[in-house]
Amino acid sequence: MEIFLVLGSPLLGGVLLALWGHRARAAELNVAMSCITFLAAALLTWRVIANGPMITADAQFAVDALNVFLVALTAFVAMTTAIFSRPYMRIEAAHGRLTDGRLRLYHAMYQLFTFTMLLVLLTNNLGILWVATEAATLTTVLLVSLYRTPASLEAAWKYFILCGVGIAQALFGTILLYFAAERVLGAGGDALLWTRLSAVSGSLEPTVISIAFVFLLVGYGTKVGLVPLHNWLPDAHAEGPTPVSAVLSGLLLNVALYALVRCKVLVDGSLQSPFAGNLLMGFGLLSVVVAAFFLSRQRDIKRLFAYSSIEHMGLITFAFGMGGPIASFAGLLHMTVHSLTKSAIFFAVGHATQKAGTQIIDEIQGLMKVNPTVGWGLLLGSLAILGMPPFGVFASEFLILTDAMRHQPWATPILLISLAVAFAAVISKVQPMVFGHPRTDTPLKRLPFTPAQIPLYVHLSIVLMLGLYIPPPLAEWYRQAARLIG
Amino acid sequence: MTTLSGIVLQFFELLLAVLVAPLLTGWVNVCRAWMQNRSAPPVLTPYRVLLKLFTKEPVLAYNASSLFRITPYILFGCMCLAAAIVPTLNINLPINAAADAIALVGVFALARVFMALAAMDIGTAFGTLGARREMMIGFLAEPALLIVLFTSSLISNTTSLSSIVGQMARMDLVIYPSLAFAGVAYTMVSLAENARIPVDNPATHLELTMIHEAMLLEYSGRHLALMEWAASLKLFTYSCMGIALFVPFGISDGDSWAGVLVALTALAFKLALGGSLLALIETMSAKMRIFRAPEFLGTAFILAVLAMLIHLLLETP
């Protein structure tokens, strides 16, 4: 029943906030609903760990180690982001960038977005999974254009069209999958249930499945932000409100990748060949390389980190493509640390841009002097995301790279060079922002509310801990999930 | 090795070096005067100069630090040590184990560093100029000198000077072409190291050309005396080292005083010859521009390397 609590609380929150989202205490309500969601998710996680996988509601929902881990992560980051967005959105409103009506839209859509993501994760039906993924796009489109600036409208339009077209391919893939499944399982709703499909994946028709996977890959891959399907991503991240960038980068990409991985498991079962894995590795590698080279030309700080997200998604995709217990483990770990770190970075970036009144990198300087906690947060977060030990991103990158050295040695130098290029690019951008004197020609803005530091440092602390120590239960959990992925 | 007679012999040798060194300087001056058709000063002039300087009151610049004042003593100490290490009369010297050929070069470097630092201490234009030039000559000469020493030590498989000289002296007369090259290189290095023409002119106080003298400009009285004496000792040591490496015949091996006497005679003869040779070189050549010195010492270095290669190619079985 925790499942319904997990899904119900953001849905209810969405409805409530659609009604009262512009009132004084709406932000608190947003936080409260997110906290309830997280508690429910924690309860669900505890149940699954204690009792093993569960399938409920006429097999429409299935929870195993793989998705419960993502449910917990999603609910957690959604909660911390809600906490962050409370002062952030108030400052935005105080700076006159938002009206009450838009604030209501924001709050309602935030909850509904959480709902759709959790639905993607929890549903056992691949059709519903598609529906929910599309819904996740729809809920965030209006958030991206929240400021109604020309740039934000453009970004939202591109986001809508590219993801819409992309996701349509995924629907075609799902239809083909259903077509193949129907021949084995018979017509009807059961034929799209993942648990049923994975049980019979060996007898699915390989030709159909491989074509289906192409469509699924292009479809969900667009949402993951794999190069060359990534073009919506930097625009959408840069132009939306920062909490939205945080959840887009930290959560939505993960969720889309989750969908892709679920499909990959079926394809692997059917084809008994590394076809799907090779495709994933190829796209992953391409994403890492191209994103790394994009980084050095960025002038907008949020765009910079959007490309960094593409790079990391590429890395995770590569890891899942490679497969095997270590790489899958590493991929899951990287998902965790990436979403924690990246959202933390966006928290810091958000307040930094509010303080400077701009997102242009060259115009933000001397954060250490202006606001040391934000400055340190941004610097440490950037170092963490670039894979500097002792942060957790290094742990997962170490595992991915070392496993690649064993199984795909040719790819390792490419990955390492790209990571080094990315390192140079990001540090060369972030360092001048953090250090030095604040610019004198652009006046700093006053922040009428205290910036949210706690979510930022909580995330960084967890990431730091994961670099030095992965608690055995968590490791066991990852291992189970990795076994599911294969 | 460290027998009583050995220690006595060591002291004797050191004392001899300290006392005879100014004589060698005087002898070179005399020879040079002769060759230049001048009337020569008495050969004992250097002693008189030293005595005069010792009795005089030294004048120190106002901002001379104590480094400036201790340098003459350190320099003198270093040169005495160097003189003691180089086998002049006997090869069984107790102090020899304290420093081999490389360490000897090190001791010279120590002296040079102190002298240069002292020259910079007062803060005059000439002092720093001298220091810089001296250090330049140093870094150019040292590699050549070490390669010369390495050639000798490759022949004798040791870097201990006593052992090198002992082996050379004991050997039958075999012609070592490498040693010829090394000898020329050594001579060139010695000229540079001892501030002789063509690299430096010990007799000049012409501002733009001096090296060694520029460093001594601020010294006077007993300090200057010690510096001058140390310079004589250095010349003496270099000469003895050259003799020991290239024409060691006659040097005594063992504790017999008779042998030492023979060696003393041989040494006196060889030094006299060497001194006049030096005077001849100085007369025949002209002082060159300071930035020709790298070429000069570079030639020395190439010769030394050739010597080593010839040894490795022709003389190793």
């Binding site: 742990a395 250090f435 030095g436 | 901002n63 350190i74 630092l117 870094f139």
Partner: protein, 665 residues
């Protein structure tokens, strides 16, 4: 304390350091607590570490597995003689530097003292941990933590653009190096998937993969150590840090890189090929020469020292190269000699370079000047610093009887054995290459005379130098500790060589020395060569003393003060002394091809003549700028992909789809 192993001791010290660092973060702006309480505690920890390191060098191998790190690869720790040696170095130097830092830190300078304290302690702790790491993950974590904490130390005075640039370059190079090291470990595990060092020791490598591992290790650790052409970050980053941090960077961190190289080449990699050693030797010699000639033309005192660090690293790598070659030919005793020389030089450099960097720190505080052109005459105002720095200067100049000479002497001895190599070219070329080593060593003397003479001797070049004050008590103690180290290392070589013997026995199976004779250092045998600094010093001191007494006795001790003579030149000013640039001029002329020089010469008719000369590093223009441009070009190409047109974006998706469909068919 019953049954506490040295390894546990070390962990306790590391914990102590981390605790001290965190305490510093707790009181970021409380200068009194940070300097008078935390740094002395850290120093005590460092001393304890040095003792533990010493006992590890002589003791047995000890291992430990911590329940941290990755689930399948927890932190493996291992303490052997090699680790112990570098821990000893870290502890001993760290003690001096920490004590000094207690007196050095000021409020309002660079970042807050507590924050500096934190990174300082983390830096120390991570360096200690690197030396005891026994698996690739632990090693990389500690290694990068070391880079990161030192980056924060370098950038602590971040308001200056130059420092930010230096720090960025440093971090970037460190990271690229780390990438190479990680790849190296990937090669070393040899397909087993086991990243513990114990497993790597057991893997056999083909010469090809061995060579790949060697090249990667050389690039990774050489880059960290500052081997040419990967040295460019070093002269930027080391001077940028506050002086205690510069001291640690130059004196200790470079040695940790040497440690890493040693660990891989002599412990983890089972094969060895003779020409590896030649490559290392050649690079080492080039580095030494390149470092020293650039050192000679610097006009910033800390940059001068940083370049000098490059030179010294070159010597160390030359020694390692010889050792690798000797080892490949099975000449154990000679490999031990070369290795001993390299290790000894590491130790020496640790002491004198930290001493000199700290001395520059005191000068900086007393005068707020780093430029050699504005210093001078400080021996009168700062006698303590000046005389202690003299010890370091003589040490680094490589003159007997101080420590720098001992290691150079042994290195040259090792060179003299190369004609015995069973290879027709090597046995001719390497002896000639010796000349390069000697040249670099002689140039080091030149550089150090310039450094010391311009900073401490002569007359003050600026008015304000008159007000310079000597260092405080803490600083003096720190400096004296390091100077004492230089003297002891110089005078007691036999004991040190005996200690290093434990390591060479571990790495090449043999050791040097005749322990029976404590006075003479005779690495191979006494007939061949021997050296006794103590005796040497005694003779010089006795003679000097006797001379002094005799002169006084026979003549007199009177002295008169007067103006400087200077050939009777009137109206001398302090500006007439050689400038730092002037002092470097001979080197600039002799080694002209090494420099990328730009001169601006005044014309006789110029009203306000300007003379300017800038000296640059060729490698910037040969390697780094082209690389940067290539990256820039590639990103420009990449950005052409994204021109904002939604139709084009759709076309990408479309083409991807079509291509994949073709691929499937």
């Amino acid at each position: 304390m019953p049954n506490v192993t040295p390894l546990q001791n070390i962990l306790v010290v590391v914990m102590l350091w981390l605790a001290v660092g965190l305490a510093g973060l707790a009181f970021p702006r409380n200068l009194r607590i940070v300097t008078k309480l935390l740094f002395p505690i850290g120093a005590a920890g460092a001393l304890a570490l040095a003792v533990s390191g010493y006992s590890a060098v002589t003791g047995a191998v000890d291992t430990l597995i911590l329940p941290l790190g990755l689930p399948d690869l927890p932190f493996h720790l291992r303490l052997d003689a090699l680790s112990g040696f570098f821990l000893m170095l870290l502890g001993a130097v760290g003690t001096g530097v920490s004590v000094y830092a207690a007196g050095y830190l000021r409020a309002g300078e660079a970042s807050a003292p507590g924050v500096q304290c934190f990174f300082f302690q983390v830096f120390l702790a991570s360096m200690a941990l690197v030396t005891i790491a026994n698996d690739a993950y632990a090693f990389m974590v500690f290694w990068e933590t070391m880079a990161l904490s030192s980056y924060f130390l370098v950038v602590s005075d971040h308001e200056q653009p130059d420092i930010r640039r230096a720090a960025f370059l440093y971090l970037l190079m460190a990271h690229v190096g780390a990438v190479a090291i990680l790849l190296c470990f990937g090669v070393l595990q040899g397909g087993t998937g086991d990243y513990t060092f114990d497993s790597m020791r057991g893997v056999e490598h083909t010469p090809f993969w061995g060579t790949v591992a060697f090249a990667l290790a050389l690039a990774g650790f050489g880059g960290k150590a500052g081997i040419v052409p990967l040295h460019v970050w070093l002269p930027e980053a080391h001077p940028a840090a506050p002086s205690p941090a510069s001291a640690l960077l130059s004196a200790v961190m470079l040695k940790i890189a040497v440690y890493g190289f040693l660990r891989i080449m002599f412990d983890l990699l089972d094969t060895s090929v003779w020409w590896w050693g030649v490559v290392v030797l050649a690079l080492g010699l080039i580095t030494a020469l390149y470092g020293v000639i650039f050192s000679a033309v610097q006009s910033d005192m800390k940059r001068l020292l940083a370049w000098s660090s490059i030179e010294n690293i070159g010597f160390i790598f030359a020694g390692l190269g010889l050792a690798i070659t000797f080892r490949a030919y099975g000449m154990g005793a000679l490999a031990a000699l070369a290795l001993t020389a390299a290790l000894y030089h590491s130790l020496n450099h640790g002491f004198f370079k930290s001493l000199l960097f700290l001395a520059t720190g005191s000068v900086l505080h007393a005068t707020s000047e780093r430029s050699l052109g504005k210093l001078g005459g400080l021996i009168h105002r700062m006698p303590w610093v000046a005389w202690l720095a003299l010890v370091g200067t003589l040490g680094i100049a490589g003159v007997p009887p101080l420590n720098g000479f001992v290691s150079e002497w042994m290195l040259l001895q090792a060179f003299l054995f190369t004609p015995g190599l069973p290879h027709p070219y090597l046995n001719m070329f390497i002896p000639v290459a010796t000349a390069v080593a000697v040249l670099a060593a002689a140039l080091a003397g030149y550089v150090m005379v310039k450094f010391y003479g311009v900073v401490f001797l002569g007359r003050p070049r600026e008015e304000k130098l008159i007000e310079a004050h000597d260092a405080g008590a803490w600083e003096k103690i720190g400096l004296a500790w390091l100077a004492a180290g230089c003297v002891l290392l110089g005078l007691m070589p036999v004991a040190v060589v005996e200690l290093i013997g434990n390591i060479t026995r571990l790495l090449v199976g043999q050791s040097l020395g005749n322990p029976s004779n404590w006075l003479y250092l005779a690495p191979i045998n006494a007939e061949r060569s021997s050296y006794s600094p103590l005796l040497l010093l005694t003779v010089v001191a006795l003679v000097a003393l006797a001379t002094w007494m005799l002169v006084r006795y026979f003549f007199h001790g009177r002295i008169r003060r007067g103006p400087a003579w200077d050939c009777g030149f009137p109206a001398q000013t302090s500006r007439m002394q050689d400038t730092a640039e002037g002092f470097g001029q001979p080197v600039r002329v002799v080694f002209e091809p090494f420099f990328r020089m730009q001169r601006e010469l005044p014309l006789p008719s110029d009203q306000s003549p300007r003379y300017r000369v800038t000296v640059d590093d060729h490698f910037w223009y040969w390697i780094y700028l082209p690389l940067a441009r290539a990256t820039e070009f590639l990103s420009r190409m990449a950005s052409k992909l994204q021109q904002g047109r939604i139709s084009i974006y759709l076309l990408y998706s479309f083409l991807t789809l079509i291509a994949l469909l073709f691929f499937v068919r």
